[in-house]
């Protein structure tokens, strides 16, 4: 069975209202925000600064280790985010709840301003893809900095991996095969085998 989750303009707007406004609480004493009852402080940060974490690190240790560390940070964000979302809504059967949790990734990324995406998941092949037709916020920020030859959003790749794995109880790795930061028309993340020949590795 194949699943496809997407959002309309109206749903994207509604999710922005929910995720970035209604679920965000401001602690006036601390001047710090909290999201959906989570104890982790939450703040507004320019997407370009998230890209800078990768850019600066890759200048020192190279793309691959920098990519991995950024991916791991995103992965934790994805698993943690899915865990919080899971605690908000737990109706229905376990399988339906898992699929719904995966689908809610579209709400979160659009609502948080990370980018509007379409998620596709094929139960039979176990393959999943997250497509951002207009690019992710980080990819768009990277594009403003100038063309790259390698993808700019390992943080998002890790996020979608963490969110997908936590939702479905699987162990997938995701690769960003298209990125607006390197001139592609969209950002595209697809599940891949952990060990496979990667074009980028050939130097």
């Amino acid at each position: 069975m194949k699943h496809r989750f997407a959002m309309s303009d109206e749903e994207s707007q509604a999710q922005f209202q929910l995720v970035s406004k209604d679920l965000l609480e401001h602690n006036v004493k601390q001047g710090v925000n909290y999201w959906a009852g989570s104890p982790y402080p939450t703040m507004l940060l320019w997407a370009g600064r998230v890209y800078d974490f990768l850019r600066v690190m890759e200048e020192i240790v190279g793309f691959y280790p920098a990519h991995r560390q950024s991916y791991l940070v995103g992965y934790r964000s994805g698993t943690d985010g899915a865990a919080v979302s899971e605690s908000i809504e737990t109706k229905g059967s376990k399988k339906a709840a898992r699929t719904r949790l995966l689908a809610s990734g579209t709400s979160i990324t659009a609502g948080a301003g990370w980018g509007r995406c379409i998620i596709e998941y094929d139960e039979d092949s176990g393959k999943a893809v997250w497509e951002f037709p207009e690019g992710t916020a980080i990819g768009l920020a990277a594009r403003l900095e100038g063309a790259r030859t390698k993808p700019a959003c390992p943080f998002i790749a890790g996020f979608v991996a963490g969110w997908t794995n936590r939702s479905l109880g699987v162990e997938l790795e995701f690769e960003e095969t298209k990125c607006v930061g390197r001139g592609d028309d969209r950002c595209f993340f697809e599940s891949v085998a952990f060990l496979h020949a990667k074009k980028e590795y050939v130097e």
Binding site: I60, V61, Q69, F194
Partner: protein
């Protein structure tokens, strides 16, 4: 969104995020390729890691121990390559780090992987490098068959 703190091979990361299980045939060939290293005087442990630090094969007591070294080895190789490019002196052939309580030797194992070997002080480095060069070539050939 919950904020996250990134750490290299954190104890809280799921194992599948930092260590990958190679297909059985590949795993066996990697084990065979690494076997001669175990016989080297002063050998402690070794790991084959993807260029980004994901562990592919290791001889450490635990996968998490291998994950720490692998992440660091990947960063060291990456930094060395960046240094070579910056100085215009080409790619590093191998990395050799003499610590107070041990020796770490790192070598590329083809375009996808790195071989990192931890040794006791007093090991015969010349011999180890010869061995590692040969083994890294076998690792490269093995991973090409994936």
């Amino acid at each position: 969104m919950p904020a996250s703190v990134g750490r290299t091979a954190s104890i809280s990361d799921p194992v599948h995020v930092v260590v990958v299980k190679a297909p059985q045939g590949i795993e066996e060939r990697l084990r065979e390729a690494m076997e001669p290293l175990r016989k080297v005087h002063g050998f402690v442990s070794a790991a084959v890691t993807r260029r980004d630090g994901l562990v592919i094969h290791h001889t450490f007591p635990t996968a998490r121990a291998a994950a720490g070294l692998s992440a660091m080895a990947a960063a060291m190789v990456g930094a060395s390559r960046a240094t070579g490019a910056e100085l215009g002196i080409g790619l590093p052939e191998y990395g050799f780090f003499y610590f107070q309580d041990g020796i770490l030797v790192i070598k590329d194992a083809g375009p996808q992987a790195i071989l990192a070997c931890l040794l006791e002080l007093g090991s015969n480095i010349g011999y180890v490098i010869t061995r590692i060069s040969r083994i890294s070539e076998q690792v490269r050939e093995t991973l090409e068959d994936l």
